[in-house]
């Protein structure tokens, strides 16, 4: 199949690259090998949470933080993509979310600080409106609300931790539980079942009245697990807050991620509505390169390998979570150019002794040129018209710095720009 520009990937980098191309009047095809970490790590878009892997003080101004990082680490993918790409990509994403009907907020100027499901403050840059009232830069006291029989969000745990790390005085962080009408604690119900029920106004009304009985004082904000509806429609959140009589904020918790579901469902539909074709279920591999350019890649479609002949390619891949890289016992191989991206005599070399320290493995990926082309050991581009974006770029660890979203945006945007010129 012929295409103008093929974007391969399932995360934020792929989406931003696709949108960038489409806005510029090009005809991208989004090749989608399956869902990726979009689902739970993209509840929010994190640009830079911490300045390095061990800093405990959250970054307050992400743009300034990235600028500093670029100055300190000129080889970092943020530096390669460039601050302009981060700025432009973020603007593009914010406008896109708005155009697609999402209510999100945030900017590169300031991080919000939101409590996680274990009650830890976490810096995030762009967040849904339904999460924003939890911003810990505000002082209003917080009540975490869980549901009887629902073990995927433990308000008592969150409250206990947050009261120590943030607490604004006695009783400023509390936990309550209510039972949900129609949900029997002895039967299985998932976040999705709850979210579906919350779409019903009468259900919300009843839950709201049960909550109101537990919070008699004004001025509190209510933190609930992220189950306020299955769609991006923010009316459910705002009407529920009205019914409860307090600001309400959602907290993402164990998978399945309802926030990710809303994001993916709507963005995907919006892309397609704007005329971009999405090829589902097609893991991509095998770049055919001649004369320094990639002529085609292949998709593992049903029945046979499907060639995609495009002018340029953006490989917006996440690590190994979406199968982008294959990690063998000793060697990590890229499925497009068959380069050995890393070799370890012993598998433990890929890891730190502690799960909570930075892992050597997280930094493995495609080495890239200053134009984000995948390169060989000597820094030469493997193909002039292929560009890499997202977590599969070598040399950075998004986990410890909470910067996955920002890097996706910056590299996705930059790669798209480069692809247009290729």
């Amino acid at each position: 199949m012929k295409a103008d520009i093929a974007v391969v990937g399932s995360g934020l980098a792929a989406l931003v690259a696709t949108r960038t191309l489409q806005q510029a009047g090009r005809n991208p095809v989004l090749i989608w090998p399956g869902l990726s970490s979009l689902y739970f790590t993209y509840a929010t878009v994190d640009v830079l949470g911490y300045s390095d892997l061990t800093a405990t003080q959250p970054v307050e101004q992400p743009e300034a933080g990235v600028a500093q990082l670029i100055a300190d680490h000129p080889d970092h993918p943020y530096a390669v993509a460039g601050l302009d790409a981060l700025r432009s990509g973020t603007t593009l994403l914010i406008e896109w979310l708005r155009a697609a009907g999402f209510s999100w907020q945030g900017s590169l100027a300031h991080n919000l600080l939101l409590p996680t499901a274990i009650g830890t403050p976490k810096p995030s840059c762009l967040v849904p409106d339904s999460m924003a009232p939890g911003d810990l830069r505000r002082d209003e006291p917080i009540v975490f609300c869980g549901f009887h029989g629902y073990e995927d969000f433990v308000p008592e745990l969150a409250a206990s931790n947050l009261s120590r790390s943030w607490g604004r005085g006695e009783g400023s962080v509390r936990a309550i539980r209510v039972s949900l009408p129609g949900f029997d604690a002895s039967r299985l119900f998932t976040s999705i079942d709850l979210a579906r029920s919350f779409e019903d106004k009468a259900f919300r009304q009843e839950v709201a009245s049960r909550i109101r009985r537990e919070i008699s004082v004004d001025g509190h904000r209510l933190g609930v697990p992220a189950v306020l509806g299955l769609t991006h429609d923010s009316d459910i959140h705002s009407s529920f807050a009205t019914q409860v009589g307090h600001p309400v904020f959602e907290i993402p918790t164990l998978p399945p991620s309802v926030l990710g579901l809303r994001l993916f469902d709507r963005l995907r539909k919006h892309i397609q509505e704007s005329g971009v074709e999405m090829i589902w279920a097609a893991p991509a591999h095998e770049a055919e390169v001649s004369d320094g350019r990639c002529r085609r890649i292949f998709l593992k479609s049903a029945g046979r390998e499907q060639p995609i002949d495009a002018r340029a390619y953006v490989l917006a891949l996440e690590d190994t979570v979406d199968g982008a890289l294959r990690a063998g016992v000793h060697t990590v191989v890229d499925p497009f150019f068959h380069q050995s991206l890393a070799h370890h005599a012993v598998p433990t070399e890929r890891t730190d002794e502690s799960l909570f320290k930075p892992q050597p493995f997280a930094s493995i990926g495609y080495p890239v040129t200053d134009r984000l082309q995948p390169s060989d050991d000597a820094g030469r581009p493997l193909a002039g018209n292929v560009f890499v974006a997202g977590g599969a770029i070598a040399g950075y660890d998004p986990v410890g710095t909470k910067s996955r979203g920002g890097l996706a945006i910056a590299t996705g945007y930059r790669a798209a720009k480069e692809a247009m010129a290729a």
């Binding site: 399945p256 074709e277 589902w280 016992v329």
Partner: protein, 420 residues
């Protein structure tokens, strides 16, 4: 590549069985239309890879609720680890039926072709009966088919017989018509639906191919087997598949195989080899094309007859779930955008809910209508001349649930070629 040396475990890339690749991301549960619509379905993650660790030969620990899997395969399409979730569920369900025994309904629905043949032979009567409330109540009681579910009309003249009489293409040879001599021959796998229920679609497929100078042959064929697969009778499906594979592999080289039903096409391309382990199925799968996929390929090769009459119409396109599994995008949309006058928009509201024989069943009808409710609402709100879908049961469901006219994309193309 796994090194071939026995017992050597050196620098290899693991090629574990798909079920082992599950990383519990739960993405599958978020896209599963059944899990989204009801609390009584545990979801593909649990019924697939999680339960699979507990299913052993020779006894399957059958987990209740397997029958609630509609077979849409959206879980497989979404899985970032490429776990073949639906295959595991089907095999477990099949095993359960082997042990517990199949119901009359399993038998009837699995033998769709037989049923349809009977319906076709007795067409006026069968059609009357299918619409008669009393007959339907008895059918619901005896067979478990919901009385509200509109059943397809049967046609006395089958596509097979029509083709023998009417096609321009003599079997196995003939010259091109319509100005393009492409020297291509395709074999049309028409499927039970076209044969017994919508012969006109088959006529249009043939007309379009012949308009493009392609000779059409229609090999003898058996049901593709998907109704048997989803009604817990994989042995029957395999029997059909073996027969089909034998015949299709007997086609001369260079003859591609076309299917106009998404699910038939997927069976031929993929499930014959992956789910049913039929020898020789991979060779067949490699030459099977969805009709729109094929026509688009012709277009990219510069071989498509672009002599279209304008067709002024406002259309919605609903991509069948199984089309996503093909991994080819939406070729129908690309094709139709070539036709002047066509205004086409995708209506993407997920699964229509019917999932083949799933939504026909008395205990699943309401669920199937609930699953499709978003789609129905969007179709009604958009208003259009027709909702296009490559899958026949999707078309049935959209007509029933949204009260909209539904057609295969080929219908528009046929009109563009002047073949009303």
């Amino acid at each position: 590549m796994i090194t071939e040396e026995i017992g050597t475990f050196s620098d290899t890339v693991e090629e574990a069985a798909p079920v082992e690749a599950c990383t519990k991301c739960t993405a599958c549960n978020t896209v599963c239309p059944v899990a989204r619509s009801t609390e009584i379905f545990r979801g593909p993650k649990f019924l697939g890879p999680e339960s699979e660790r507990y299913r052993s030969q020779p006894e399957a620990a059958v987990t209740a609720g397997l029958d609630l899997c509609s077979g849409c395969k959206l879980c497989e399409v979404t899985c970032p680890s490429q776990v073949t979730i639906q295959e595991y569920i089907r095999r477990a369900q099949n095993k359960g039926a082997e042990e517990k025994g199949r119901t009359l309904r399993d038998w009837v629905l699995g033998h769709t072709r037989l049923l349809s043949r009977f319906g076709s032979m007795t067409a006026p009567l069968a059609n009357f009966g299918n619409r008669n409330p009393l007959v339907r109540l008895v059918m619901e009681r005896v067979l478990g088919i919901h009385h509200k579910r509109p059943l397809p009309r049967y046609q006395w003249l089958t596509f097979e017989r029509w083709f023998k009489r009417n096609s321009l293409s003599p079997r196995g040879g003939g010259s091109g018509r319509g100005g393009l001599a492409t020297h291509r021959t395709v074999a049309y796998f028409y499927g039970c639906w076209v044969n017994y229920n919508e012969r006109r679609l088959g006529e249009q497929v043939v007309a379009i191919l012949e308009r493009n100078g392609i000779d059409v042959i229609v090999p003898k064929q058996q049901c593709c087997g998907i109704p048997a697969v989803v009604n817990a009778n994989m042995d029957l499906a395999r029997k059909y598949g073996v027969e089909n594979v034998r015949r299709l592999n007997g086609l001369p080289p260079g003859v591609d195989i076309i299917a106009s039903s998404t699910s038939c096409g997927l069976m031929l391309k993929h499930d014959y080899s992956h789910l049913l382990d039929i020898p020789g199925a991979e060779q067949v799968g490699a030459r099977v094309y969805d009709i729109c996929e094929y026509l688009w390929m012709l277009h990219e090769a510069g071989e498509l007859n672009l002599d279209f009459q304008p067709v002024t119409t406002r259309l919605l396109y609903h991509a069948p779930c199984h089309l996503k599994s093909h991994g080819i995008g939406y070729p129908a949309m690309r094709l139709l955008r070539l036709i002047p006058g066509v205004q086409l928009e995708e209506v993407d509201e997920g699964c229509c809910g019917i999932s083949g024989t799933f939504g026909v069943k008395v205990e699943k009808y309401d669920l199937s209508m609930k699953i499709g409710s978003r789609l129905f609402a969007a179709v009604k709100a958009a208003g259009s001349d027709a909702v296009l879908a490559d899958c026949e049961t999707c078309r049935m469901q959209v007509e029933h649930g949204a009260g909209a006219h539904s057609a295969h994309p080929i219908d528009i193309l046929a009109r563009a070629y002047g073949h009303g």
